[in-house]
Point group: D2
Chain length 146, copies 4
């Protein structure tokens, strides 16, 4: 690209590709150190019992964590996941899931984020369905992505 991606437009670019795009991830908010991403229910995102699949929940949490970390980095840097831990707390049986990430610590090129994932019913009630921590490391964006 000819113009550098500053962090907000990088967040949009990250979200517009591959699985994020195909699954329908929606960026609700991104700020330096935090991010919120939501995902409406769709049959191809569910598991055996008809709830959101654990890997899909993890993907959404990971996206929120990555955007929270990336948005706190200087332009031209991106956070990639080193390790992720997810506790599944309640069935994700709503019409939507929402992942809210915040950075716990940036230290050199390592960032750690905590993510709460809520399942939201059509009546607007939210239930915490998963809790996640993710360790990210910051990389320089390869030239072809800048």
């Amino acid at each position: 690209m000819n113009t550098p991606l500053n962090p907000p437009s990088l967040a949009e670019a990250i979200n517009a590709r591959g699985f994020s795009h195909a699954a329908g991830f929606r960026i609700v908010a991104v700020a330096a150190g935090s991010a919120e991403v939501s995902l409406p229910r769709r049959d191809d995102l569910l598991q055996f019992f008809g709830h959101f699949q654990g890997g899909v929940i993890t993907a959404l949490a990971d996206q929120a964590a990555g955007l929270a970390v990336t948005s706190s980095l200087p332009a031209g840097r991106i956070g990639v996941t080193v390790e992720i831990n997810v506790n599944f707390l309640s069935p994700a049986d709503g019409s939507e899931i929402i992942a809210r990430a915040k950075i716990l610590k940036m230290s050199g090129s390592i960032g750690v984020a905590a993510v709460e994932v809520f399942t939201k019913k059509t009546d607007g009630t939210e239930t915490l369905c998963a809790f996640c921590t993710a360790t990210m490391r910051a990389l320089d964006l390869p030239a072809e992505y800048r």
Copy 2:
């Protein structure tokens, strides 16, 4: 259903629904206490850099862990994920990913599995791209699934 699902057919049934089916998960092998599941590359399963997305890798690892645990349970019981931890070790840049799970321990209704995930190139070489541990608990299958 009218006939009970014994563990192998339950594995097939689990894999034939929702995200597993839509993404194209393939059961390679299932035995009591172990399972292997593979997933061919497809554009809608990738992340920003064009490698398999972390949540998709987690979903495959989780499926393998769940099948390993479920296949060691008596008919009518299924393992669901309580917690999962994934270390991403190398870019999952092959034409396929393969998750190989084995149970570390079953203790009462709790099972723990370790999963190695490999990325496989078209020349057949495999590289360990992720390592996962998952904690499962065994539930009675609801009557409508038996």
Copy 3:
């Protein structure tokens, strides 16, 4: 014992044995679903660089998580650790560490707690040095402990 241990006295009993006692764990507060435990610095609790050792930090976090879960259980039940995940965020270089646990979810016999660990300097300032999630399961206390 002749009298049942209700949860608060069980917390004291748990803390008065073995490593907890030898290391000097101090219960600051215990309520149903939360607990705070502190540990003053001592040379035999440190690592190579003179900060609190990671396993000692984990032990304190685990104790706080276990007390938070146990205190929410009926008398005669105790929470034991199934799995623990700790992110080390900053050097634990204060004169004391403090673990504050709260339950994220109790579901049947499984409880999940999140724990923040702070390092406290002699001037009273606290820094988040570790973040932990723990999965516990509830057991009946063996008769000899009741």
Copy 4:
């Protein structure tokens, strides 16, 4: 120090301080990419039920992981723990625990190790009591430690 610590002597130096020394950690073997450390039972290392305490088990696993990573680094570098995940599988009720670590991947300054922890009875039988993964990052040893 006047003479540089090469990796084996660094391992000894790490193990000879603070909690490792006080608890009685014993280095059984260290090679580039692997390490084995053991710990004999002692009353002040146990939990409520008289088994090795979870944080003590974590400390031993962490030490083995750190030595495995550090021993694969050039002289003057040391691995410190970013994140650790431990699954407790069986009661650590033996007369000794033994942690065996091997590196899964070194990538730049990040290393990931898997650790099996066994509890050993006086008759020599070993049981897997915990399984751990740890993420480490390599630091330059401060000048005063070289």
